[in-house]
């Protein structure tokens, strides 16, 4: 009964996420106005910002799940932390790659070592290292404890990345909270909000699928343990 409820919930989430994504795409290409200076290439902005938001949110979930694991010691929090890192990394990779593609026509180069981009690259590597760390620790409890602490400490890269364009001199525009290097029309704001909603739903869908994988891994571990016990008898 519970499994079928989960399945229905996951199905509704997937369909809902798909519908909102189609609406977001339609708004990006048909509703949002063409930006006066950059032209059509500025339409990268909506999904670039939305994927960054979801990536940061994913790492925030890992931070919270890490704290919850250290307090409770429950395996489900560790599964959530790991799942959220994988989904978050996918979105942050989108942000970095699409940002780099956009940088070429906007700044004349695919990459420059300015504060925001440098912190994004370091953040990406730090969370890849989280996955490598998990792979290198043998005991399940020790792995979960170590990964929780790492996930909490690694979260410092999120506020650092957010404030990088406010604290240091940088060529990356601060479109959302100040600066006027790119004119933001109301229709652009509507499109951005819907895109963020669509990406948040996509995050929830992917997270739910990834969590299923962890449940299956736990089931597999239980059967292995059962067999091990039998072979000892």
């Amino acid at each position: 009964m519970r499994a079928s409820k989960n399945y229905v919930g996951q199905y509704l989430l997937t369909v809902g996420s798909g519908v909102v994504m189609v609406v977001a795409l339609a708004m990006v290409f048909l509703y949002a106005p063409r930006e006066a200076v950059m032209g059509d290439v500025q339409r990268i902005f909506y999904f670039h910002v939305a994927s960054a938001w979801v990536g940061f949110f994913g790492f925030f979930v890992t931070f919270l799940a890490g704290v919850a694991y250290l307090i409770s010691g429950q395996r489900r929090w560790d599964a959530l932390a790991l799942s959220s890192v994988e989904v978050g990394l996918t979105f942050i990779t989108m942000t970095v790659v699409t940002g780099s593609l956009w940088a070429k026509p906007a700044w004349g180069t695919y990459w420059t070592w300015e504060p925001r981009l440098t912190i994004s690259a370091v953040q990406l590597l730090i969370y890849v290292a989280y996955l490598m760390l998990r792979g290198s620790v043998e005991g399940a409890e020790q792995r979960a404890r170590l990964a929780s602490v790492y996930g909490i400490v690694a979260f410092v890269t999120v506020p650092l990345s957010w404030f990088a364009i406010r604290w240091w001199r940088t060529i990356h525009p601060d479109v959302l909270t100040g600066g006027d290097r790119m004119a933001i029309a109301p229709r652009m704001i509507h499109t951005l909000v819907v895109s963020i909603g669509a990406f948040t739903l996509l995050y929830a869908t992917l997270l739910s699928l990834r969590m299923d994988l962890e449940s299956m891994r736990d089931k597999l571990s239980r059967v292995r343990l059962k067999l091990e016990r039998r072979s000892r008898l």
Partner: protein, 49 residues
Amino acid sequence: MSETLLAAYAVFWGLTFVFVLSLWARQRRMEQELKRLNETVEMNPSADG
């Protein structure tokens, strides 16, 4: 429409597709392993019941 814009949106969908594909592949592998282990358990009924 600019090539850069198309490339950027291809990256969004491409990475999402790769992630879902990796989930599917891992799930399939685990299901096979689980099936194999369950068969082993059934073939060796034992002491722990």
